[in-house]
């Protein structure tokens, strides 16, 4: 529990900075300070409790041990390779899921038969966590890269589909009416109104799904992989190297946070008309 302290704290700090309103502007300096204080407190507790032996190293290593382990993993280049391998799998599976699910989601929203065809499968597949696909994908694809990508894909596409469907459905019918009144044909309504109208919701869905994709790849790597962050944590556990496990967990947090930042940048680029909402 204690080890999760710093990770949890970064997450809540991110939430605070995303509330875009006037209150935020006043509250931010204070909230930053409180966040910092809470991190320092937890780190101090960690340091003190391990230094004075209140918690044994086999349950929680010292901060200094973790730091050394991190330097070692970083210097050998192994850590970066793992980050890179996991990122690549996430990116491929996620991109594939988007390519498949976004058009399907739009189709479901604007063409009732498409919804009728897909609905039963969506209902059946949605409750399945991505790990339940591990046996089948291993049988079909072995334990190579494509199997990891498939797990990410299976865990991601339905969420993208549902977000796309919902946000396409919710495009203001008055705007469609206005477009037709100005002489727009079906194709214009599609490209000029429905798609841009649904885009903010689709991008929100992609951002949420990106985090899900990450958890998919990690569970896939824990079960069967030579490299990647999930495999690294699992192997470190087998060697009894708890410090390395913590380094792996921290790397996951940082990588996902960086990916989130990149996604936010891309969102701002794609939705210039919502820029006042993003400030």
């Amino acid at each position: 529990m204690v080890t999760l302290g710093p990770v949890d704290d970064t997450a809540s700090a991110a939430v605070v900075t995303e509330q875009g309103d006037l209150r935020r502007k006043i509250a931010v300096p204070w909230m930053r300070l409180i966040s910092l204080a809470s991190v320092v407190t937890v780190m101090t507790l960690w340091y003190v409790s391990t230094e004075y032996g209140w918690i044994l190293p086999i349950f929680l290593p010292k901060p200094a041990t973790v730091w050394q382990e991190a330097q070692g993993a970083f210097a050998g280049g192994l850590l970066l390779t793992d980050v890179w391998m996991s990122s690549k799998r996430v990116f491929l599976g996620f991109a594939l899921a988007g390519i498949v699910a976004i058009p399907l989601g739009v189709a479901m929203a604007i063409w009732a038969p498409a919804k009728a065809i897909l609905d039963p499968f969506v209902s059946l597949l949605r409750p399945l966590p991505s790990i339940t696909w591990i046996p089948l994908t291993m049988l079909w694809l072995g334990i190579g890269e494509s199997q990891k990508v498939a797990i990410v894909f299976m865990g991601s596409w339905i969420y993208i589909l549902l977000y796309t469907y919902e946000s396409t459905k919710r495009v203001d019918p008055l705007l469609i009416r206005a477009a037709r009144n100005l002489g727009a044909r079906d194709i214009d309504v599609m490209y000029e109104v429905i798609f841009p109208g649904a885009l903010p919701g689709i991008i929100t869905g992609l951002k949420v799904t990106l985090a899900i994709s990450w958890s998919c790849v990690l569970s896939a790597e824990m079960v069967a992989a030579q490299n990647g962050l999930g495999a690294m944590i699992w192997q470190a556990k087998d060697w009894g190297n708890l410090a390395l496990v913590l380094v792996g967990m921290l790397s996951i947090s940082i990588t996902v946070l960086v990916a989130d930042q990149v996604a936010n940048r891309i969102e701002r680029l794609l939705l210039p008309w919502e820029r006042d909402r993003h400030q």
Binding site: A178, A179, N181, L182, G183, D188, P196, L271, W273
Partner: protein, 262 residues
């Protein structure tokens, strides 16, 4: 002279989800001539928007016909351009993108549509705001964009559903003057919905007073006040007479409406 827009014995019934069907418009007939500025005046809920939506082809009458130049309107009719009460601007398009929209979907070349859009942006005095998004504009500015968007598309009839209702008194007056100036310049047939007797008196050539639900034509009054209708006209006895006359027509309807609702 043939009317450009006509409603012949139009009835519109909405099938309500629960309860009785609503008769929004009942056996309404009206002819609108080319170049006229007609104001539709009536209590809230009397079917004014419903009528305008039928002229634009958004909904079809349950009985009777609405015609544009003698042919029934059966689907969305781009020749009858609409200004919506709630603006209905595309949030993802800039002022220029919104104004260019009608030309773009008719595949007008980029240079031509840019030039035409600019002309109407200048006309509604939004020069310098071409690259702003609608959310960055005030309500009055947004309403001017809808006007420019409509005019750049050059429809044959302008349909306006309480376009100035959400504006403050001062902006509204400026907009009214602007609209009159535009109407004087291009003589476009205009059907304009309003709650305000003064607005109807200032803008129209003819005022159609509708009865409370179900909407029927209560009276049609020609408005021959001299234009431009500045303050001196608004203080003239003729103006006061016409206003009193309309107020009496509307008052009985509003009271009647209140009673049926209570």
């Amino acid at each position: 002279m043939h009317p450009i827009l006509s409603a012949e014995h139009v009835t519109k019934v909405f099938a309500a989800g629960r309860g009785d069907p609503v008769v929004a418009v009942d056996d309404l007939s009206v002819d609108i001539n080319e170049g006229e500025f007609v104001c539709l005046l009536g209590a809230s809920g009397c079917g004014k928007s419903t009528m305008l939506n039928m002229f634009a082809g958004f909904t079809q009458p349950t009985n009777g016909t609405v015609c544009l130049r003698g042919t029934p309107i059966t689907s969305i009719e781009p020749r009858c351009g609409m200004v919506f009460q709630s603006y209905a601007l595309f949030p993802w398009k800039t002022v220029r993108g919104n104004v260019e929209f009608g030309l773009k979907v008719r595949r007008v070349s980029k240079d031509v549509r840019r030039e035409r859009a600019q002309q109407f942006i200048d006309m509604v005095k939004l020069t310098g705001f071409e690259d702003h998004y609608p959310t960055e504009l005030s309500g009055g500015m947004q309403q001017r964009v809808t006007l420019a968007r409509l005019l750049a598309n050059d429809p044959e009839v302008l349909l306006m559903d309480e376009p100035f209702a959400a504006l403050d008194a001062m902006t509204r007056q400026v907009m009214q003057e602007e609209l009159l100036r535009i109407h004087d310049a291009n003589r476009k047939t205009t059907v304009f919905i309003t709650h305000s007797i003064d607005e109807a008196l200032i803008l129209s050539n003819r005022i159609v007073v509708m009865s409370a639900r179900p909407g029927r034509v209560k009276a049609i009054l020609p408005n021959d006040l001299p234009s431009p209708r500045h303050v001196d006209v608004q203080l003239s006895p003729e103006y006061a007479d016409l206003k009193r006359q309309i107020w009496q027509l509307v008052e009985s309807e509003v009271r009647h409406h209140d009673e049926t609702n209570n």
